[in-house]
Amino acid sequence: MRIPCPICGTRDRREFYYQGAASMLDRPAAEAPLEVWHDYLHLRDNPAGGTRDLWYHASGCGSWLVVERDTVTHEVLGAALVEACDAD
């Protein structure tokens, strides 16, 4: 599995740390109700097929990436910097 880092180019999976679902970017407000935090921290869509997840280019530029992948085929479809995705 190789991941196309927008800064460094396509690199071996071993250079990256995997964090999990990109829904982690939608952090609730501190005072949000318990269910919202539970949802955010624990519950997952866990799709079989297309997914968006967070990878950290630890042995590269140190960027957080949103990677689009297929969990059934392991095909990597693309990657973008979190900053770009999370601009709002």
Binding site: M1, D12, R13, R14, Y18, Q19, G20, A21, L34, E35, H38, D39, L41, H42, L43, R44, D45, N46, P47, A48, G49, T51, D53, R69, T71, V72, T73, H74
Partner: protein, 417 residues
């Protein structure tokens, strides 16, 4: 059809013509008292104990592929009860006791071999942790023995004891742990359930769960609709998809775990040995292959096969621990889809929908749980109350924060177990 020494002898002398299929291949009926979704180890054991312990016989197991084609046929077959936290402790202890009686109970040779599980440690800190775990196991009524470096050397002289970076300080030995033949466990429970009247329906994928007024009424399948007032979801790596059919989102991520086997060798590894400085465990199968594995690949996956980096990592751990393995050739490797929970521990519970029950979160350790899980899930489905051994395996523990079972102490979060 019962197995016995006489029967084997007789069949051997008469050309093995008397053996019959071990279970029927029935058509699904329109309605059952209870449906079990998933014909893996846990689903088949649940059906068996529903019939045996609770007298329910109008039940069916619905399996989308063939019986035993999931993780139950893909694991490294390690059985143990060496957990440290309440919840896991009593559950796995109960499960191990069921393992010890399984072959008699099923009249089936599951090749249960209590060859002992040896967990190595490589520092003073790890020794303390092993001593603590050993005490927790003994308090639970199970066996554990703290072995010195020389005692370990007497058992397994071929390890690299003086490895510069990770010398072996000793080990925690759990003599009642061991291995079993994974397929035979599925087949034994399947045969036991079928002979008690349970319909095992293969090539039958559940595609929808019918709910009316907050109560489950049945399921939709690729072989038609089937009604039932009670439905148990036991689909391991596919838990999120099936629960979504009932509108639920689960605290589960599916990951790939790989395993490896070498060509058959003469007996050389008598126990299950685990490395303490990297995730690596090994035993020798009855055919002679060295069966071993390591960590998850560590990314969400449904591929049932892994990538090369983890293979390299596992081989490195193997060579570090036991250089002699370098002479063996790897024959095959494969992967399975693991239902990972945030705290690394399982869930056996009701859902908010009446009559719908959930069994998942087995992570990479659900083989040893097969009898205990089937027993407890059957109890829950039949009586609507949790069995004492599994009362702490609650679905709501993540939301409430009460009763989390984070054995590794790394935090109850996805991707940490």
């Amino acid at each position: 059809m019962r197995f016995s020494g006489w029967r084997v002898l007789k069949e051997g002398l008469t050309g093995n013509k008397g053996w019959r299929p071990h279970w029927r291949n029935p058509q699904p009926k329109a309605e059952y008292d209870a449906l079990i979704i998933g014909g893996g180890g846990h689903g088949l054991a649940t059906a068996f104990y529903l019939a045996k312990e609770h007298g329910l016989t109008k039940i069916a197991v619905l399996e989308k592929g063939y019986l035993g084609g999931g993780n139950i046929g893909r694991n490294t077959t390690i059985v143990r009860a060496n957990y440290g936290l309440p919840g896991n402790s009593e559950f796995y202890s109960h499960s191990l006791k069921l393992w010890e009686g399984m072959e008699q109970e099923l009249n089936f040779n599951t090749m249960m071999s209590q060859r002992g599980v040896l967990n190595l440690f490589h520092s003073d800190g790890q020794r303390d942790a092993a001593a603590r775990r050993g005490n927790a196991m003994r308090n639970q009524g199970d066996d554990a023995e703290l072995l010195s470096r020389e005692q370990v050397r007497a058992l397994v002289p071929w390890l690299d004891f003086d490895n510069t970076r990770f010398p072996i300080y000793g080990g925690l030995f759990h003599g009642r742990g061991g291995t079993a033949r994974h397929d035979a466990v599925a087949w034994g429970y399947a045969r036991g359930a079928d002979s008690r009247g349970v319909d095992l329906i293969q090539n039958c994928e559940v595609t929808g769960i019918d709910i009316e007024d907050g109560r489950v009424t049945g399921v939709q399948t690729t072989r038609g609709a089937i009604k039932a007032k009670k439905v148990g979801i036991v689909v391991a790596g596919r838990s999120s998809q099936v629960a979504a059919m009932a509108g639920m989102r689960l605290p589960i991520e599916s990951h790939v775990l790989q395993a490896f086997v070498t060509e058959g060798l003469k007996p050389c590894i008598d126990h299950v040995v685990t490395y303490g400085m990297g995730h690596f465990y090994i035993s020798q199968s009855d055919k002679g292959g060295l069966v071993f594995g390591g960590d998850l690949d560590f990314y969400a996956s449904y591929a049932a096969r892994g990538n090369l980096p983890m293979q390299e990592h596992v081989m490195e751990a193997a060579m570090t621990l036991m250089p002699m393995i370098g002479k063996a050739r790897v024959l095959r490797s494969w992967g399975g889809i693991m239902d990972m929970s945030p705290d690394g521990s399982p869930i056996i519970d009701k859902t908010h929908i009446d009559g719908l029950y959930l069994n998942c979160g087995w992570c990479y350790g659900g083989f040893k749980a097969v009898p205990g899980s089937g027993f407890a899930f059957a109890h829950l489905i039949a009586t609507d109350r949790p069995h004492v051994s599994a009362a702490r395996l609650r679905l709501d523990r993540f939301e409430t924060g009460r009763g989390l079972m984070d054995e590794e102490g790394t935090g109850a979060q996805h991707n940490l177990h």
